[in-house]
């Protein structure tokens, strides 16, 4: 497209991004408000942050959320990567249609239904609800997102590399670890990050599948939000936003550097 922005384009950009970011910026600003009112500014203060670190309930919830996120993202990445391989490399196996359906369906399934159905399963098999049920639930829906992310990378992958490795006598497992994985690694990492944030953000599925022993941070935030807006919640949200932003920025920068390095190597090879 032409590289000339009309006035209309500039206005769209400013308004569009203003709309996307203004609420978040306001939320962050008011987390530093001295007054307990979230809408009247009365000076800079970090008291809500210090207060957070004395709120044991909140800290416990944060710890639960972090553990669920780490475990479920890792498991989801392994399962999702396998699922992506199954979808792209093994085009013929029994029940492939059902498998494809099961990978894609959770992506569009309303959260309330995912939560309800998993809870009913845990009740049916009499599984104690708590930390592990939430983790299992999170693995289940986030592995499908990982599968889609990794699948798109596998589809753009030059298969002749894999074929060459196999021709030279490498087993499929060895080919995967020595040839495929190093190439699709950025997508696998992106998948992990996506699974982790999905788990970190989830309120609905966790509310259905948890028991009295495990309360996650979104559940805690939700129950407090229902009682009203407080600077303390603003502070929790600000910390979460900071963590996610830092993670995404780091991932993007790393990816970018990798790309630049590869391009430079490519140029060196041709020089």
């Amino acid at each position: 497209m032409r590289h000339r922005l009309s006035g209309f384009n500039l206005v769209s950009l400013v308004l569009g991004f203003g709309f996307l970011y203004l609420p978040i910026v306001i939320l962050v600003i008011f987390s530093f408000n001295a007054s307990p009112l979230v809408t009247v500014w009365s000076g800079f203060s970090t008291r809500w942050y210090t207060q957070l670190f004395q709120n044991q309930g909140l800290l416990d919830a944060a710890w639960v959320t972090l553990r669920v996120g780490l475990i479920s993202a890792t498991m989801a990445t392994i399962l999702g990567t396998f699922a992506a391989i199954a979808l792209t490399r093994y085009t013929r196996f029994r029940g492939r249609v059902l498998f494809t359906g099961m990978v894609y369906a959770p992506l569009v399934m309303p959260e309330v239904i995912t939560g309800l159905s998993l809870l009913l399963l845990f009740v049916a098999v009499d599984f104690d609800r708590g930390f592990w049920t939430v983790t299992l639930a999170h693995i289940t829906f986030s592995m499908c997102f990982v599968a889609v992310v990794v699948q798109s990378k596998l589809l753009s992958f030059d298969r002749s590399l894999e074929e060459a490795a196999m021709d030279l006598g490498a087993t499929p497992a060895k080919t995967f670890f020595a040839v495929t994985l190093p190439v699709i690694w950025p997508a696998v990492a992106a998948g992990w990050l996506l699974a982790f944030t999905l788990s970190l953000d989830d309120l609905v599925v966790a509310s259905f599948t948890t028991g009295p022993s495990a309360t996650t941070l979104p559940m805690k935030i939700y129950s407090q939000v229902r009682l009203g807006v407080t600077p303390e919640i603003n502070a929790v949200c600000t910390i979460l936003i900071a963590i996610v932003t830092a993670g995404v920025l780091t991932a993007t920068l790393l990816n970018k550097r990798r790309q630049v390095r590869r391009e430079r190597e490519g140029q060196a090879a041709f020089a």
């Binding site: 590289h3 922005l5 009309s6 369906a105 309303p110």
Partner: protein, 298 residues
């Protein structure tokens, strides 16, 4: 030896995720289906299990009941919830499109060097929690919130507007939360476009607006369609947004299901609500898949 091991890797790559999804996705779904056909009981769990024992399978089959579905059909509350959800999702999609298209268009026309940064700006909110983003709006929209303070200060209004706990607030929440889903596919299809088409049109004397409607817009339609489905489908079953911004007056179906389950503890009826919701969503989902497949085949 190689053959055996290759079989091993293949078996794991297919078998592991297959088994996992069968146990934790397919079976739970079948349980919901079964439960929607059983009767409520005031026990824990609050339902009468239907055909658990294979020996009494035939007996159980006769006990299956469509009572829950009849109940839902009889009570206008549920029908209204479904209709309200579809209406809100539809109009939210239209509004998201109206805001998303100009944004995606401007992004596609931006200098090449800006694009990665602009894309990043669109994707970043998508990574932050829905709950947080919806929460951010409560502070802005409530009667003593920032928007009202601002408008009162400008003397545009002399009474605070009531926005929270109305449908307007839900629209704002959905448009805000789902905007990246609309912008991304539209941007992708606009960015792919060959700029020479527009040059050719302008050389042949076509005014820019005409070129837009006869070239740019038709070429961006696949992105528009994808974006609309990506907003509409999840918006129908949305829970957090109507619950926090819509208050008790607007019952979208996700919230009805939640209340039926947590407040009324009527598991069979909530299962039936879930099954009907899925049946409603199957149509747009299948249409969407078809379109995506056709696009991928191109």
């Amino acid at each position: 030896m190689t053959v055996v091991r290759s079989g091993g890797f293949r078996r794991i790559a297919i078998g592991l995720p297959y088994l996992w999804l069968a146990v934790l996705f397919l079976v739970p779904f079948l349980i919901v289906l079964k439960l929607s056909l059983s009767q409520i009981a005031t026990a824990i769990p609050p339902y009468t299990p239907t055909f658990d024992d294979p020996a009494t399978w035939w007996d159980s089959l006769r006990q299956l009941t469509f009572e829950n579905y009849a109940w839902i059909a009889d009570d206008p509350l549920y029908l209204n919830s479904y209709l309200i959800s579809l209406r809100i999702a539809f109009f939210s999609t239209v509004f998201t499109f109206m805001i998303g298209y100009p944004l995606a268009y401007a992004m596609a026309r931006a200098p090449e060097g800006w694009k990665p940064f602009l894309l990043m700006l669109v994707i970043l909110p998508f990574w932050t929690s829905f709950l947080i983003r919806v929460y951010a709006w409560i502070g802005i929209l409530k009667p003593e919130g920032l928007l009202n303070q601002f408008l009162l200060f400008l003397c545009v209004i002399d009474q605070p507007l009531v926005i929270t706990n109305t449908e307007t607030a839900i629209f704002i929440g959905i448009v805000y939360s789902y905007l990246p889903f609309m912008v991304m596919p539209i941007f992708a299809s606009l960015d792919r476009m060959d700029p020479r088409l527009l040059e050719a049109a302008s050389d042949l004397g076509s005014p820019p607006l005409k070129s837009f409607w006869s070239i740019t817009f038709p070429l961006s339609l696949p992105g528009v369609v994808a974006g609309c489905f990506l907003v509409f489908i999840p918006a129908v079953g949305e829970f957090v947004i109507p619950d926090l911004l819509g208050g008790s007056s607007t019952l979208m179906i996700g919230k009805t299901l939640w209340m039926e389950f947590f407040n009324n503890r009527d598991w069979p009826v909530s299962s039936a609500v879930a099954i009907i919701l899925l049946l409603i969503l199957v149509v747009p989902i299948v249409v969407f898949q078809r379109i995506q497949d056709r696009e991928a085949a191109k």
